[in-house]
Symmetry: C2
Subunit: 371 residues, 2 copies
């Protein structure tokens, strides 16, 4: 059943422990008796697992439940916010964003810094984590970056933005510095999708596509609540072709979505110099025809995804959100015209934090507490 050295019984215990912890985490405040009812574990087991969780500092009691029912009052349990911290990093070409989150997913600390002259990416990352971890017990680090990462070795295989050599040994350097902390290096798009599922204000969807529109156009794919990776190079939504007779793209294909819907192309097609300017014009009813080219292409791309994967929801994020509801409505309208599944949910992301670091933190959490 297992290749780890653990015996099956230990695995069961671990699974039940995770189950209980996740339940406490999800519910905010919950009693042992409630846990027993929900999990259908025995009262004894719940008690002993909770005792252990308290011993590890992950859970604490937080007062007495107030109800008007008869009987002994229940002692409530909650996650101990400072029982451990997760660091999430969003690495771009020259900028490192690093966020520290508590066990209850409250943002504790944020750093954003660019690389100083001659500083390597690995050093910059180490530095950032060092700053975050001052006086805090970090139990997980996930680094999101644009590129293909081998999930087995955590090493970068390729990236259009980052130099592979810079990144290649980040994992080993980090691991050496903090041998007992779980470190993950992941593609940023997948982390965004995970963040959308967990922290977006649109019902929790286990099959979800997040579309990220900035300088490029990417997609994160969630299957059964988990980040889909395929052979590692998926999510290149920007190079989905919707017009095989169209312009040649730098990827070698023709009529790729990126030629219509990336931010630079949007600005160029609409002859505006910033998204802010375009947003204003849209609100005055201007540039409708030009924007239609963009939204129609996007609608075709999204429809292609929907026909292929039929996710529960499509979440659009990235800087295009500044274009406002007019833009989203235009996408939806084009979509409805051509779609087979017309009522598919298409929404803007409503996450205020950095979705890459937030998704990264959630990823660490899931790895640590079982999913």
């Amino acid at each position: 059943m297992t290749d780890t050295g653990k015996s099956s019984q230990q695995l069961i215990k671990e699974a039940n422990m995770n189950l209980v912890f996740r339940l406490i985490h999800k519910n905010g405040a919950i009693s042992r008796a409630d846990i027993k009812k929900i999990t259908s574990l025995s009262a004894t087991t719940v008690s002993s697992l909770v005792e252990e969780l308290i011993g590890e500092g992950f859970v604490e009691e937080c007062g007495i439940k107030k109800t008007k029912s008869s009987g002994r009052k229940a002692v409530m349990l909650k996650v101990k916010a400072d029982g451990g911290f997760f660091a999430g990093l969003d690495v771009k070409k020259n900028i490192i964003r690093a966020d520290l989150y508590g066990l209850d997913f409250t943002l504790e600390k944020s750093i954003e810094r660019s690389l100083s002259d001659g500083e390597s990416l690995a050093m910059g990352i180490m530095q950032a984590i060092g700053t975050l971890s001052r006086n805090k017990k970090i139990i997980g680090v996930t680094i999101g970056l644009p590129g293909v990462i081998d999930p087995g070795t955590n090493s970068l295989i390729s990236s259009t933005v980052l130099a592979a050599d810079d990144v290649k040994d980040i994992y080993s350097i980090l691991k050496e510095a903090m041998p007992d902390v779980d470190v993950y290096i992941k593609n940023n798009s997948g982390l965004i999708a995970l963040a959308e599922k967990e922290f977006g204000n649109h019902g929790r969807a286990d099959n979800l596509i997040s579309v990220d529109i900035n300088d490029g156009v990417g997609a994160g794919i969630l299957v059964d609540g988990k980040i889909y990776e395929g052979s590692g190079m998926g999510g290149e939504f920007g190079h989905m072709s919707v017009d095989f007779g169209g312009r040649k793209c730098k990827c070698g294909s023709y009529g790729c979505l990126e030629l219509y819907a990336s931010v630079p192309e949007i600005l160029s097609l609409t002859e505006t110099s910033s998204l802010g300017e375009l947003a204003e014009k849209l609100s005055f009813g201007q540039k409708k025809k030009e924007v239609l080219q963009v939204t129609r292409a996007l609608a075709f791309g999204i429809n292609n995804i929907v026909n292929l994967l039929d996710p529960e929801i499509i979440v659009i994020g990235g800087s295009v959100i500044t274009l406002g509801e007019h833009f989203l409505d235009a996408i939806k309208e084009s979509f409805r015209e051509i779609a087979l599944i017309k009522d598919k949910k298409i929404v803007y992301s409503d996450i205020k934090e950095n979705p890459v670091t937030l998704g990264g933190v959630r990823f660490s959490f899931d790895r640590m507490f079982g999913f």
Copy 2:
């Protein structure tokens, strides 16, 4: 950990039992000692699980291992081919194909029949299963059909080919007739993909796309070795648009793949009356230009899938296979021209049996013996 009434210990036992059985199944002939080494279960546990499997009639001893090593000779174990039978059905508009497979996946019996006048689909299916099951202990039935099925209730939600009313209660009728047999109703595309993974002669890929080209163009998607279903309506590869300025499709969109690459369109674009005729012409170097329209469109579609999902392999099946290697080569050539990931494996299906029933049987198997 579980919502079933079973205790965790029972779940462990079941998991280990499945592990052992699948190992025996996969290896053909294997000794208890080998199982111990591979699974790292204790010798005692292996012995007791095997004993139980033999008791249930799923496994039998099959002689002594011949080796020249010293020590006591190992008793070999194999799956008892007639320990139980799986029925797989491929339901089309008016034709029911039903195959019976032994526990070791040897084809035991095949039926193909059309519905007689006034006979309902459910009755036809019942009849077919009845014929198959004569003197045979059926332990699983999976019915593959074109349409959207709710995996929870096993009822048809919609189908472009079958009448929903005909199908709606197949599951309950079957269940009533054979209450202790597992019955599944699944979309046919997914079953094809599963069959490709398990029975195709191209390394076992856990992330695989099967493209089925017949009157329509469909896709089956395998993620982590399991059939991907999304909200249920995925796999509509035929309605992926690759040319948003193209012809209007009956689905409401424009330039869908089905308008280029479905068999009727292929024949029309190449002005031939059958795939056989076209195959012959291709082998004489004729119709190259006309076929290029088809293969180029397909290449764009496949490239879109690859960029989005990056599966390990794309397997093309359906009646287009009769067009032979010329056709496949043309697809690959167009693909290489435009692809970002140029070395992606694209192959024809080499499954000789009916992939829908075969995939269905494998599906039953996986459900029964844990995956």
